[in-house]
Point group: C2
Chain length 301, copies 2
Amino acid sequence: MDRLLKRILVLEKLIERNEWRIKDLAWETGLGVDEVVDTLQGLSKHYLIEIGEDEVLWNPVDIPGTLHPWGWRLIHRSVLGSTQNAARGRGPWSIVVAEYLVSARGRHGKTWRTDFGGLWFTIVPQVGLDELPDVPIAAPVIIARSIKSLYGIDVSIRWPNDIMVEGKKLAGVLVEAEAFPRYAYVYVGIGINVNNKPPVREAVSLRRLAGIQPRNRLLATIIGWFSRLKKLLEEREKLRDQYRSLLDTIGREVVVETVDGTVEGTAVDIDDAGSLIVEAGGDKKRFSPGDVYRLRYKEQG
Amino acid sequence: MDRLLKRILVLEKLIERNEWRIKDLAWETGLGVDEVVDTLQGLSKHYLIEIGEDEVLWNPVDIPGTLHPWGWRLIHRSVLGSTQNAARGRGPWSIVVAEYLVSARGRHGKTWRTDFGGLWFTIVPQVGLDELPDVPIAAPVIIARSIKSLYGIDVSIRWPNDIMVEGKKLAGVLVEAEAFPRYAYVYVGIGINVNNKPPVREAVSLRRLAGIQPRNRLLATIIGWFSRLKKLLEEREKLRDQYRSLLDTIGREVVVETVDGTVEGTAVDIDDAGSLIVEAGGDKKRFSPGDVYRLRYKEQG
């Protein structure tokens, strides 16, 4: 706990300014110089931080707050409860990024604590009501394509919207919306394991796949796609095709956990509403994303 | 840990502004409204916080940051390593107050974590070099007299500078100095158990003695005495008499823990340098404050 608080104290100052004399950092945080150096060394496993004799530098290409994406208001914080909640107070065209989340929200109200060094953010596009149903498909497509193009990593989508590499989860999406008569604000919460320790054994990070990475290129690429979201949503069939071609769920033996119990079977298709069709004991069952707590592939046990 | 972080997140915002709509507080911290209300309820045991239906108010008389003592620069923070370290970067005539300390420093390099609701601060007077030796005596006299006058509580001093009530520790002092050719900055670290849970069983808080208290009256009174420190130090004999009359150590059976081991005996006097003289097995031993880790009274086991 002390270690966590010290990291937060130091990170808070580094977000304020990316270059510090270590002595000044000690004064500002009230930590001893040794404590600051220890803390920086811990943080440097998760961030592009260079620790010199007397000074420390956090590389701006790893600091989301240095981005000023055109048309968006980006807020960068050290700690928040969840970026989804924080984005509610900011409205459309805002992006909230935090380094540490105390009560990060996953699907179905699950909450968890993050590690340092990931990309945890909520981006809030405004879309037409008719476009709204395709946002949960657009988001994983955007993330998958961004990672693929930047890192050349072969990513796929596990229904409905987990981003997977070699059967392990690299990123997750949570889509929430606030609908008005003519439009909706969509709160697209995105968590990508970049330089953090993956939260569970069945997850993986970019650091593990390719070494520690500066985060801004990835973040900027994703934001760029969201700037073109309208166009993406207009070409609905193309988007759905892209989603389908990234999806690795069809044809798999799956275990579907729902409120009503667990179903095992073969994933055979998804329909236009994004529901998964599973053949189990001769029956075809249809699952909407909202009803499924968890989807596992049977091969992985 | 989550509870601690949530409290820090909320407190940080309440220090920024003492009145909030709960919904805004949720947005700002990224916590859910329920989480905010829970957190506020926890904090209200340590602070004069009133939680309404939709709003919350922290009474300004309990917020150190609302004080602007003449001639001093007061800095109020939610979390710091230690106020002693933080004060180093601020120089003379500064006062650093924090609500939570991750590595609060005690005498002899011991570190500990605070609870919420105490008064943890460092005040930095500048004194003449000839006055320096009496500051460690002046500090506990100031604290003892302030508490006595405001609360009518019968406090005493346990050598060298613990503030005691009914044999239990209510406040502690750590004096550090930075000496120059003609003067010295004195970093007087003061910790008073006001509305916090006392850190150990052998300690007590004002809340336990007299119910939850607004802290600014006490803090302002102590700062007022430090504004008159020069005068106090000029009347050296009077100050020493006051110290002696508050000291409840003389005549006691004591256990003195030092680097060289433990000595049991009777405290018979203090000398002009502030050393304690203990009669043990016919011998008289002299202990300077810097050599003693811990002094206990034998009656208390």
